[in-house]
């Protein structure tokens, strides 16, 4: 089943981007996490009709993506895949809120279209920031950072285990689905065979978990993954966080595009 393989390839692509040695890869993961969270809070804190003032925020994901050489195409494709829910809910705004909010030249623009545009922008900004965070950091450093910021280790361990075995079990699922497809002669998978198929996948997963656990216990596992990675907070990390947060505060409190437009004489 090719879509399982495609999903796994997607999962791997972001992580492999983070492995490369870019200037951003050396920034402390905590700094990137904090800056990204500040970014998201700043973006969603605008009121529903804001469009222009959101635009400067595009600098954050764009600059980070450029520094880390994250391919645009990958980001855009992921954005499009994730879009439906926000777009569908947002599409009701133009229908429900038709009071004109502003006039462009001589064309009145309704509040609904403004807020719809705002939702699309928010969506693109917040999602691309999260994707860029992963693509420049990687899950493992991110989990170390989360642990340092007080997230229970049970949860960060869980994330790491999940990520590692997603490829193993995803591959298993893909092979099982392909094997069924080859024997099914084009018939769709029905519930009657779905139970045993997924059930077998579950049993294999459980057996694998048991083997993994025994192997880990044999190597001295006591229920906790230990990190050899030392996080060191340097001046560069402080500059990174303070610089970006300063920019977010500025862009949040001053409508930069408006100001630019007035300077440009419009």
């Amino acid at each position: 089943m090719s879509h399982i393989d495609a999903a796994l390839r997607d999962l791997r692509s972001l992580e492999s981007l983070a492995r490369r040695d870019t200037p951003l890869a050396q920034v402390d993961p905590r700094a990137k996490l904090v800056a990204t969270l500040a970014f998201i809070v700043a973006v969603v804190s605008f009121d529903r009709y804001t469009v222009a003032a959101l635009l400067p925020f595009a600098a954050y994901p764009a600059v980070l993506a450029a520094m880390a050489e994250v391919p645009w195409r990958l980001l855009v494709r992921k954005l499009l895949i994730a879009a439906p829910f926000a777009v569908m809910v947002g599409l009701f705004n133009p229908l429900l809120d038709s009071a004109p909010q502003l006039v462009l030249g001589s064309i009145p623009v309704s509040g609904g279209w403004l807020s719809f545009a705002s939702i699309l922008l928010r969506f693109a900004l917040t999602v691309s920031a999260a994707l860029v965070l992963v693509a420049t950091t990687g899950l493992y450093p991110l989990c170390v950072a989360l642990g340092r910021l007080g997230v229970p280790w049970v949860f960060t361990n869980q994330l790491l285990f999940l990520f590692r075995y997603a490829f193993v079990l995803g591959g298993e699922a893909s092979r099982m689905a392909t094997a069924r497809l080859l024997r099914a002669n084009g018939r769709p998978l029905r519930l009657a065979s779905y139970g045993p198929l997924v059930g077998h996948l579950l049993l294999r997963s459980l057996e694998r978990a048991q083997r993994v656990h025994q192997a880990m216990v044999a190597r001295g596992f006591d229920g906790r993954l230990r990190s050899h990675r030392q996080l060191r907070w340097t001046a560069r990390d402080s500059v990174f966080v303070l610089g970006w947060c300063g920019f977010f505060l500025l862009a949040r409190s001053v409508n930069l595009p408006q100001w630019l437009g007035e300077v440009a004489g419009a």
Binding site: I4, D10, E15, I40, V41, V44, F46, D47, R48, Y49, T50, A52, L55, A62, V63, A66, M67, F85, V89, N93, D97, A99, P100, L102, L104, G112, S115, I119, L120, V127, L133, L139, P152, F155, L159, F161, L162, F163, Y165, V168, L169, G170, A173, Y194, G195, V198, G199, L202, S205, A209, V212, R252, S253, V254, N255, Q258, W259, L260, G261, A266
Partner: protein, 345 residues
């Protein structure tokens, strides 16, 4: 259905983060205190299993659509609610990070909607009651379907409440509810059947996995009772926090602030050509990091009223045009900066 950052206000997002985070910490402590640390590798592999299983779809006859496992309920049946909650939270986190499902701010809401309801409400209060301890096949099917339906109905209700409380979407509560609940009724039935199919298979193949659930029966029995006050307390805290925050937000100038401030700021900004100083002064005024979201109850009547006439003259075509031109300039600048950075390397 994943909640999205774009539809959330910071107050609602933060409230859900606090609620989900507290439950996550609570579940992690429960696991540790019960000495169930050995579950950790099992949980990790099962998280990966849910991840993989969600990608296998089965055809629903005569509809042309397909369904798959949600995972939360099945995990709760296999692992007990606490471990299941941590696993489902991790699956949602990986989906948010790598597949852009929802987003980071919405992650708290998604963990709450898709994790808390199936693990802490649908499983102990519905599945265990209906399916019983031994569980005949019929009761397992009935229990799974009932629990999945209850879990998803609560989850989609929560999505509606969070969206409406955030006030970014204009959908009124009633219509959104009518849109979401029937869809999730159907999804719930399908997910319940899928869960039952897998549970029945496991029951035939490895009854030992289901008979003594990893949570010892003795410890599990008082659980719902013990949890209910916690969940209720969290719910009350969440509602109270949301209410207080939204009251703050709506006491700020709202809705029209966007255009009014444009006009007011017009004189203030160019004159503050000294840049930083003016910006900082303006910043201090507006540092209230709350959006002007009001519950639609306030917002809905307010907008049409204001729309009538009094407020609209405030809209200055010149101002709006400046916004568009400036927006284009901003985007060009961002684009140029990134272009230069790519070139340089």
């Amino acid at each position: 259905m994943h909640m999205a950052d774009a539809l959330l206000s910071p107050a609602v997002g933060a409230t859900m983060w606090v609620a989900s985070g507290a439950l996550l910490a609570f579940s992690a402590r429960q696991l540790r205190e019960r000495g169930e640390d050995h579950l950790v590798p099992l949980m990790g592999v099962l998280g990966a299993f849910v991840f993989a299983a969600q990608m296998i779809n089965f055809a629903i006859p005569a509809t042309g659509s397909s369904g798959h496992l949600g995972g939360g309920l099945l995990l709760a049946i296999l692992l007990g609610p606490h471990a299941a909650f941590i696993v489902i939270a991790s699956v949602l986190t990986v989906q948010a990070l790598f597949f852009a499902d929802g987003g980071l701010l919405a992650l708290g809401a998604n963990i709450f909607n898709l994790g808390v309801f199936p693990c802490f409400i649908a499983y102990p209060l519905v599945y265990r009651l209906v399916a019983g301890a031994a569980g005949s096949p019929g009761r397992i099917v009935a229990g799974s379907v009932a629990a999945a339906v209850v879990g998803l109905q609560l989850g989609s209700l929560a999505v509606v409440c969070q969206t409406v409380a955030s006030g970014i979407s204009s959908l009124p509560f009633g219509s959104f509810l009518l849109l979401m609940q029937p869809i999730h009724l159907a999804i719930g039935v399908v997910e319940g059947l899928a869960t039952a199919a897998v549970v029945l298979f496991v029951r035939r193949a490895r009854p030992d996995l289901l008979a003594p659930p990893p949570v010892p029966a003795a410890a599990a029995a008082p659980e719902p009772g013990m949890l209910r006050p916690l969940v209720a307390g969290l719910a009350v805290a969440a509602v109270a926090a949301g209410g207080v925050l939204s009251w703050f937000a709506s006491s700020q100038p709202d809705g029209l602030e966007w255009s009014i401030e444009r006009v007011a700021g017009e004189e203030g900004l160019p004159e503050a050509g000294t840049g930083v100083h003016g910006a900082l002064a303006a910043l201090q005024d507006r540092l209230s990091f709350l959006p002007d979201y009001g519950l639609p109850a306030d917002a809905q009547p307010e907008v049409p009223e204001a729309a009538a006439d009094a407020a609209w003259p405030v809209v200055d075509p010149g101002t709006s045009l400046a916004g568009v031109v400036g927006g284009a300039i901003t985007l060009c600048m961002v684009w140029l900066v990134t272009l230069l950075m790519r070139r340089r390397r």
